[in-house]
Amino acid sequence: MAYKIVEKNCTGCGACEFECPNKAIKEKGAAFVIDPKKCTECAGFFDTPQCVAACPVPKTVVMAF
């Protein structure tokens, strides 16, 4: 399981990038993307996925599948 970022909503602020404990988030063009192979939904690190909690735009970091 992993999260993904809805590209058209992303403001490119990068608040998710430096909160990610797995370094799974990188800038790509004007938006950020989550590498699903690295995303663990923060299991073992935090109670809530950090990218979801930090993102300022509603419904932008969502379950990938």
Partner: protein, 492 residues
Amino acid sequence: MTDSNIVPLSSITRVDPAKPRLSGCSAKSNGKATSCGSSAGQDDLPEAVWNKIQDHPCYSEDAHHYFARMHVAVAPACNIQCNYCNRKYDCSNESRPGVVSEKLSAEQAALKVMAVAAEVPQLSVVGIAGPGDALANAPKTFHTFDLIHAALPHVKLCLSTNGLALPDHVEQIAAMGIDHVTITINMVDPEIGAQIYPWIFFRHKRWEGLEAAQILHERQMEGLEALTAKGILVKVNSVLIPGINDQHLVEVNKAVRSRGAFLHNVMPLISDPAHGTHFGLTGQRGPTPNELRAVQDSLGGDAKLMRHCRQCRADAVGLLGEDRGAEFSLDKLTEAKPYDPKKREMYLEVVERERGDRQKAKEMAQMPEKIEETPVLVAIATKGGGRINQHFGHATEFQIFEVTSAGAKFISHRRTDKYCVGGTDNSDAMATTIAALEGVAAVLCAKIGDKPKQRLADMGIIASDQYAFEYIEASAITWYATRNACDVAASA
């Protein structure tokens, strides 16, 4: 690269100090030296504080006539949500905090600062003010400051924060020699805070409602106390939100002063549905100029209040009230000119002399014996340097001075282009300008055409280019004295 919008040295050096002029009317001095009383002037402050702020346009009203600042937009991420902010919206005509055209890496920011320093000898301050929060990703902010300090050690560094992460970074701020910090504090009561901040991200968790506002409030107070305990100058910004915190800012003022804040700057809420902010979309309005002033006046203590804030963009470059950011966009930075410290030294010498001359001119400007006690507002078109040196038609803002028998005092600025009007329905720019001049008795500018002059006259506003290139305060006082002397003569 054009420098049409920066004060050319020639414009502030080629003219003799303003002489008091009372052409056609005679008036005697009341013998009173006029004291500016403007925020953060040399006279009202301990020497140590004045030394820290005398070149800082965002802290000293006097300095903002002479020195330029730039913000580098290296901090796009934020750790709280404010109901007046939506950073997705950017319009090149916009001038609002939290708005930038391009974000920068630390290395790009250092390159940009070098390029600006080479072109703009007035540059004295580099700040990180977002467009998010400077301390949300603190390592990047500090890395940027390191690079800038290594390249240009004379440049003052400052940052602006909402305070949430501040207590964790006070040690490093002090260690890096950052001696100016601005904290935005809109409330000291979580009940009010909950109406302004829907959520915060703190200690790896999202907090909402009262709990969020309580944490933010405690962190702001803790950060403020820790900074002032280290002797770092702290300015507090408050956004005036009518119906939410307008009555409450008195409490905020007491709380921040008692914790050692050096300046309290009350700024108007900028609210427009087009910006897509919560307040904009729900019809929360911003304050009128009179409401803003009433709150500023109620907080009193002129030396501790700041009225010249321009609510700059997080990538603004230049003197306050102008923005040369577009000249220094990333694609233009490939070949930065080398920085020449001699240009800056020369500029500093000029400024020192100009400051002295301007002060002398102000003191010499004469007041008639019999004058009305009602304060009069005078609008000034200026490009900086403390002189009336801008064409009426080129002014994107006016500096408003209140003139009374006690002298001339800067009270605010009014923009003629502050809000993005968009569309094509902008045929009458003059109407916008006239609206900005509401309540003003006179406009003093370097030059004005006959048509606009007549149109202002129809509105009961006197426009004059008689004081072109002279010092602002001395000219405003002289104009006022002349007018009153004429009135007295006419009624005699």
